[in-house]
């Protein structure tokens, strides 16, 4: 048995969700091989080699892997899947874009967003915005799986380095081209791996007012998130969206401010360890999942919170 994990990275850094995926991979039994495809991605291969549980890293460099286009990576993943019993990637926009294409090319199903490994062929995954959990069993010869990072701890770094091999590139597909990125710049921790998240909703009223959230987040070393309504209204960038169709987070502390608590939002944060809700409407459904609820006007509560945290 061997498990191929497709690493997510930007040629400089191994994205942390890859380490959660490696943890899931180690639960399947068998050798864990990490595929790092990119251009100038040596540092990423080295980082992957130092993750606990990794037996081998295969590094493949080519111009057409400089950006992670699914069309280019699919033939490469298949070439390296060889006799792997499982192919895994994080259930991020990277993995969600890539792995179904790999699965269809292999003529097998893809299992999305697993949160638990029951056995090498049986997995648990949330459906209906997390309102139900499906236990599914696959009889495909190779199981192609995306892994939800909140279901698995990140594998440790700093292990004795596994060997790194150079692998051959596949011919370019060529019918799709990367044009540009507009990445959200932030000094804050990554939303999906932060231990504290402060999120704002429609109640924030404007993009400017999000500074009140930023202030509190700065004091806490927290990441900033948002509801769909806040993103749609232009208060926050799209990649801040937490929920069924955005990012799934499970920090130690999640603070929801001016968010009503629609099921689609809850789907993205209800596995947080401690949930705080600040909302002026005491009937807001968010209070049904909050460990600590504060019924208050956020324009008063947030500055007060910022001050209290400085003490």
């Amino acid at each position: 048995m061997s498990v191929l994990v497709v690493a997510e990275h930007d040629n400089q850094e191994l994205k942390s969700a890859t380490r959660n995926t490696i943890t899931a991979a180690t639960q399947l039994g068998g050798e864990v091989v990490v595929l790092v495809a990119g251009q100038g991605c040596g540092a990423v291969a080295q980082a992957a080699a130092g993750v606990a549980g990794v037996a081998r890293v295969v590094q493949v460099e080519a111009e057409h892997y400089a950006h992670p286009l699914a069309e280019e990576l699919t033939p490469l993943v298949i070439a390296h899947a060889g006799n792997a019993t499982h192919v895994l990637a994080p259930a991020t926009t990277f993995g969600k874009n890539l792995l179904p294409r790999v699965a269809a090319q292999l003529g097998v199903m893809q299992i999305s967003d697993i949160v638990r490994v029951e056995s090498p062929d049986t997995f648990v995954r949330p459906i209906y915005a997390g309102n139900a959990l499906a236990t599914v069993q696959s009889s495909d010869r190779v199981k192609v799986i995306t892994v939800r990072s909140t279901g698995f701890d990140a594998a440790a770094t700093g292990a004795a380095p596994a060997p790194i091999e150079q692998g051959a590139a596949q011919p370019a597909f060529g019918k799709s081209r990367f044009v540009r990125h507009q990445l959200t710049k932030s000094e804050r921790p990554e939303l999906t791996s932060a231990s504290i998240v402060v999120s704002g909703g429609r109640g924030m009223g404007s993009a400017d007012n999000f500074r009140l959230i930023d202030d509190v987040a700065d004091k806490l070393g927290a990441a900033v998130g948002a509801s769909r309504a806040a993103v749609d209204a232009g208060f926050a960038p799209n990649d801040y969206q937490v929920g069924q169709t955005g990012k799934i987070v499970a920090p130690n502390l999640y603070i929801a401010v001016g968010i009503s608590g629609a099921i689609q939002h809850l789907a993205g944060m209800k596995d947080s360890k401690v949930i705080v809700a600040i909302n002026k409407d005491e009937e807001a459904p968010i209070f049904e999942v909050a460990d600590y609820g504060l019924v208050a006007d956020l324009f008063q509560a947030l500055p007060e919170l910022s001050t209290a945290l400085s003490r």
């Binding site: 930007d10 286009l69 069309e71 991020t92 926009t93 990277f94 969600k96 874009n97 890539l98 179904p100 294409r101 699965a103 269809a104 003529g107 097998v108 199903m109 893809q110 999305s112 967003d113 459906i127 209906y128 915005a129 139900a132 959990l133 499906a134 236990t135 599914v136 069993q137 009889s139 799709s176 081209r177 990367f178 044009v179 540009r180 990125h181 990445l183 999906t192 504290i196 769909r228 993103v231 749609d232 960038p237 799209n238 990649d239 169709t245 130690n252 401690v274 949930i275 005491e282 209070f287 049904e288 909050a290 460990d291 600590y292 609820g293 504060l294 019924v295 007060e304 919170l305 209290a308």
Partner: protein, 250 residues
Amino acid sequence: MKILVAVKRVIDYNVRVRVKGDQTGVETANVKMAINPFCEIAVEEAVRLQEAGKAKEIVAVSIGPSQCQEVLRTALAMGADRGLLYETDAELQPLAIARLLQHAIQKEQPTLVILGKQAIDGDNNQTGQMLAALLGWPQGTFASKLEFDGNQAIVTREIDGGLETVALDLPAVVTTDLRLNEPRYLKLPNIMKAKKKPLDVVPAASTGVELASALKVLRVTEPPRRSGGVKVASVQELVDKLRNEAKVLS
């Protein structure tokens, strides 16, 4: 340009879904059904392209039981020209859905296929990517903007770090994200007109497409329930509790 859109019938997003007592699935009897929100966005995008003179014909395809004709009628009322239902009572997995859509595409020869990024029932987020693979076409997933430049689709995608723009040679597959557009409300005259638009029904089993699934659902269970906690009276009390009771702040 001819556009094919895939529309799925799902439990309405406002419904509070309940797991069945026998753990075989979720309760669907007497539950409000609707077009999957992401599919509605897909139809809207196609109709806007037609209104802008970029698309000639829009074919809406759905796969599922006879009642899927309702979501096809919704697509027709929004502006699609024809409907096609692959009828089956079996619960198909994304790979089988993608194969049936491929079947439709071989017949219809569209230049662009638009799907939702995700059906909000199974939350799979797979079908568009699988379809692109089967066709050997480029894919622009999670689109928040769709433009054209000669024989290319220019797709802005919502990704974890922000936005990414890709250029795809046509024909191509695009899947919609929430911010691609805001679907229109249906107008009564259009609903009436939609009743007269052509809607073909083909038994899925008659296509010869492999529909069996290697993925079995063993059981569907309720997730652990979170119980609500306490209300605090002030910011100071909140911070005290977070520090001394929950111990999540230092």
